[in-house]
Subunit: 195 residues, 2 copies
Amino acid sequence: MAARQATRPNPAGGSGAGKVFIHFTMSLDGFIADAAGRLDWAFGFAGPSPAAVRKITDSIGAVLAGRHGYDLGMMRGDMKVYGGEWSGPQFVLTHQPGDTPADPSITFLSCGIAEAVSTARAAAGGKDVVVMGASIAQQCLAEGLADEILLHLAPVVLGDGIRLFTGPLQQPITLRTVSLGQSGDLIDIRLSVVK
Amino acid sequence: MAARQATRPNPAGGSGAGKVFIHFTMSLDGFIADAAGRLDWAFGFAGPSPAAVRKITDSIGAVLAGRHGYDLGMMRGDMKVYGGEWSGPQFVLTHQPGDTPADPSITFLSCGIAEAVSTARAAAGGKDVVVMGASIAQQCLAEGLADEILLHLAPVVLGDGIRLFTGPLQQPITLRTVSLGQSGDLIDIRLSVVK
């Protein structure tokens, strides 16, 4: 493994530019959803306190998500991002934009991942962009577009499901642990991508 | 997820009976070895201090490992378990016992996983049995023979290799976080299996 390198300045440039961070609850064996793509497996664990969630949501200026989660209803009603504790522009990257979403805060994007990140960054107004959806997160990591990963590691081995990290990669992605803690049953790990 | 249950008494019974724990350095994406089965990927990370390693090795009465690691030379010379900082009975579970190992502390076992764990327990003299080798660890977890998992989580996404956890499982394995810390570049997580 290479020696530590300084983190590259944020590609968006300028002081106050937000980060792009990937945010998931993940099982010990690397799954973020069950084999049907559902998140129910995680509901039984005590998670971050409302204050801890607020600290995260306060940093977020825009959401970039995938179509699979949108189709599962994850941006509507009870499944709104952060349980409805956050509101702002949400972008869904999809090859099949179809109808315009009923929620005016949601915009379908049909472009490459770099352009999608750029669009979300512009809408975030200097705050962070949070990346949801395994496929989108993988593309961001592979293309060097993610600055941080925030994981809530759940103490369970699921055995099957949808992985956050799928390979192979052109080369390993080296990270640096920024913070480590526990909230409820979960282990909170924030890592920055060494670019 | 089911509510917390009390941990079942150690199947070996009796006070002072050691635990069976699985011990690995694992990448953030779940790999413990590269695609060739080698461990070099982990060598660049600063790990536990000698004192921290000694605290672990002091608890260990026997090693239970797999044939793959043995064949890669992981129990000889520079690759001795815990860098030679521990010595004691070591068992290698294999379908092809072949020649007797040159090292008299190493015994080939050709039996089922439960009998292998039982043999290692008996040799551990009340201390812990540490399980090395992904296949052996998976069998121990699947058969409910492991009490704890000690992971040193490395801040890297490898993309490919040999996974510690492979599925699918008959049912998810629920764990409880016993301790959490950092040593060097690594995140140390000790979890107990809820039985």
